[in-house]
Amino acid sequence: MNYADSVTDRFTGQVTIVSEQRQALEKQFARILSEHGAAISRLAFSYEAVASVREELVQEIALAIWQALAHFRGDCSERTFVYRIAHNRGLTHVGRRRPPHQPLEELEESEQPVDPRPHLDEQVARTDQRARLMSAIQSLPVTHRQMIVLALEGLSHAEIAEVMGITENNVAVRLTRVRKALKDALGERT
């Protein structure tokens, strides 16, 4: 085998490894989206009230996850990894947002999320409660929003601390404060 052949073989080998790695990443990404897609959508609700902009935000979060996935070394749980990226992207969205121009039909849509379950009366009551909860969460300061959303998603204090970069004790103290603020905000909407 001459030098040119050996270089060609080495290059072909590298290309095969890269394409296999890419396929594995794509599989992992598809799994993450199907496992955490609903949570990402819920999370986007807390950062953006306008439906069309929210859909954009959900896509941007997914894109950020894809970009970061190749660097994920498992130094935290996959859930923590996804929530970290999602919240950081949500914060960037809030920081760069222009003053909102919210069309009326979109406002109505954003205040009445869809519930696929049956029983009309029950559904109306649930939709109403959900809309109040959403509106109360959206009225909180952005870091309060983040903390209550993580708690509602069922993350433990340790996981919330890992996502936010604060101590577990701090999480407990702040969560009590945030829950009080949410209760007050819900009270104002009754």
Partner: protein, 203 residues
């Protein structure tokens, strides 16, 4: 959904869990965005490489002209390219990590990035002024030979330089001022988020 003994939190969780489902074609749209982003990334890099190479080829071409003006152009372009690249690397140092870290670290990094961006805008103004002064000094120092090349009176050259500066600078100033306004607004938002995280200025 995680059940706890905390009834209030459980009720909220139940309401929260029904809030939203991702759109039906969510995965397809994300896939399209990824492809678009990758194309844009490749195209951006090619354009940057073409621009840099083009400038260097232009400088090399001008350097091999026999006139002093050619030497002046080549030196000016080389200095501008290297000083601009050096400034960018220096200003954005320690601000390149990805956004997979904790919120606190991310917001601190974001603050650092926005501050660096504002500093870069200020430096770019000084740099462009410096470039003009550098070219003017270079031309003045070599006027004896340059004057023979172009065959013009120094006053005409000074007038031409002033007209060029007056024509270009309002546009550059307006662009930089607009960018700076946007970045300062972003800096204010980041500072607000940082204050919220530290527990300052909260209800």
């Amino acid at each position: 959904m995680t059940k706890t003994n905390d009834r209030e939190l459980d009720t909220w969780r139940e309401q929260w869990s029904g809030v939203a489902e991702p759109p039906a074609d969510f995965q397809r749209k994300v896939q399209q965005r990824i492809e678009r982003q990758e194309r844009r990334f490749v195209l951006g890099n090619i354009l940057r490489a073409i621009l840099l190479l083009g400038m260097l080829i232009f400088a090399w071409f001008m350097r091999h002209q026999s006139t002093w003006m050619g030497t002046g152009w080549a030196t000016g372009i080389w200095v501008l390219v290297f000083v601009a690249a050096g400034c960018r690397v220096w200003v954005l140092r320690r601000a390149w990590r990805p956004q997979t870290q904790s919120t606190r670290a991310f917001v601190e990094l974001w603050h650092k990035r926005v501050t660096a961006c504002i500093r870069l805008l200020q430096i770019s103004i000084y740099l462009s002024l410096g470039w003009i002064i550098f070219c003017a000094v270079l031309t003045a120092a070599n006027w004896r030979t340059i004057g023979q090349d172009v065959g013009a009176h120094p006053k005409e050259w000074v007038a031409l330089l002033v007209v060029c500066v007056l024509m270009q600078y309002p546009v550059i100033w307006y662009g930089v001022a607009w960018l700076r306004r946007r970045t300062v607004a972003e800096l204010n938002e980041v500072t607000k988020i940082m204050n919220e995280m530290d527990g300052k200025s909260l209800p």
